[in-house]
């Protein structure tokens, strides 16, 4: 059983969001980079759990990015990936990135491709679906639970106001979110072992770019909070009703 986990590099969740070059580029100065939390906490850890349950499972990681991604790839290897691929390119757009991942996935003939439900920077929610279409595979998005029985996956996915349980034969592409697994911290043995695990760097395949970021904007600043005395919560309700017209 071979699992491919897609790993994206995102700014730390406390990063200050600012832009340079006339609001066309994200200001990366002083930014700490992390593995996109959905990729790490849910996709990768669930893959590791499947490997712990069945020694026949191999976990490969793929990142589309420049050499700046290497620390986060090593961390993912420390958590439990067996080997990693890095496609050496900028992440031009979702389609371009998905095409790179699909090329690696095709080559490795994986049974399962896991992604996070979205990246916390672009919030696209689109790589998994695009990879699935490029590979002509079933796709279950926003999975909160994933179990295997032989060649059949039972996947619980989030739907509006509830959950749905699906049965699908492998191979399959799944995007993962909270519920799938719990965050783990890499241990010393993992960190030491990660240094010698194979990390293969390849050049990108040709692929179209369908969209481009023209510019960024920051949301307008709030006017400031209107405080109501704790003695008179009914005044707050009045304001919400008459001024904000929210209730």
């Amino acid at each position: 059983m071979k699992i491919l986990v897609c790993i994206s590099k995102t700014p730390d969740t406390t990063a200050k969001i600012a832009f340079t070059d006339n609001n066309t580029k994200f200001a990366t100065d002083g930014i700490q980079w992390i593995i996109n939390p959905y990729d790490e906490w849910y996709a990768l850890v669930r893959a590791i759990e499947l490997k712990e349950a069945d020694a026949g499972v191999t976990i490969h990681l793929v990142n589309v990015g420049t050499a700046e991604s290497e620390p986060i790839i090593r961390k993912a290897l420390a958590l439990g990936g067996d080997a990693a691929f890095r496609v050496n390119t900028l992440e031009e757009d979702s389609y371009f990135v998905a095409a790179q991942i699909a090329a690696i996935a095709r080559e490795g003939a994986y049974d399962i491709v896991f992604t996070g439900k979205e990246t916390i920077d672009y919030n696209g929610s689109s790589i998994g679906g695009m990879v699935a279409e490029l590979l002509d595979l079933p796709y279950i998005s926003h999975a909160v639970k994933f179990d295997l029985s032989g060649n059949t996956a039972t996947v619980v996915r989030e739907i509006e106001g509830g959950e749905e349980t699906d049965q699908v034969s492998l191979p399959i592409v799944v995007s993962c979110q909270k519920g799938m697994a719990e965050q783990r911290i890499p241990n010393m043995k993992g960190i030491m072992g990660a240094r010698t695990k194979p990390l293969t760097v390849s050049e990108p395949v040709t692929a179209d770019i369908l969209t481009r970021v023209a510019s960024f904007d920051l949301p307008p600043a709030k006017a400031g909070v209107k405080l109501v005395s704790a003695e008179h919560p009914e005044e707050l309700i009045r304001l919400l009703h008459e001024e904000a017209k929210a209730i």
């Binding site: 699908v168 970021v213 510019s215 707050l236």
Partner: protein, 320 residues
Amino acid sequence: MNLVFIDQAEGHIKKASFEAASYAAQTAALMGTTAEAIVLGTVSDDLTALGRYGITKVHTVADANLNEFDAQVYTQLIAEAVKATGADVLVFANTTTAKAVAPRLSVKLKAGLVSGAVALPDISNGFTVKKSVFSGKAFANIAVTTAIRIIAVNLNAFTIQEVEGSATVVPFTVQPISSKVKVSGVDKITGEVPLGEADIVVSGGRGLKGPENWGLVTELAGLLNAATACSRPVADIHWRPHHEHVGQTGLAIAPNLYIAIGISGAIQHLAGVNRSKTIVVINKDPEAPFFKAADYGIVGDAFEVVPKMIDAVKKMKGIA
């Protein structure tokens, strides 16, 4: 021509799809064209009423097999509808269905996708759509350079414009496609307002001390017909179910009113809720960062303040 996918569950059109329909119609008006709709599965709602959102024609594939969702099957059928109608803009409400299908269609139709759109496209110079990025902390203006463009509109981000009108409903004939996904069960959380679609959300944090105190949140929510939510630690320590976790690593929401009780307002929490129109914060610590992001606030003990808010709402609604 613009085509909007109308998402349904149990025969009823999802609320978010009305916003998407209105978005498609207003985009069509900008572009000097019309907007039509595609509906898959059997729907009991009156589809001619989509005319009120500016839709002129509704194409339906009323096949009960389609009531079970399969991203591959939906992709195939919507792609055929795009080709048959000659649509060059395809609009979705950014629901779980769109998140599974729109990326596939982007590949199949070689169409640039903007998911999480928050405003109408700017067509003054090319085709640019504003979307939410960095979990609500910023916006990106995405230039789409393909002949067909796909837009998935965020919930509650866009105001519906109702118009006079009635849509004609026509069957769309397709070859049946077999599904590789077997749906073995659906679990709906009943009796609650779905969080993603709610107009008002009442949310509790660690300041509420324990699950036994959640009556304050649920009672206020019940009176306001609101959904309930919580901060991440509250879900992690199982005071509340995971699906209520909002924030950067939970659900991102944008209700009309968000009431935060005993939540500090950490940057990761704000990321998921700062698109709410009005934010109210109840916190005993005047230094809590949430007050900086709030419109209204009370510095005080939730256990004293919230019962008085409940009484005031009851009085306002004429409930004894």
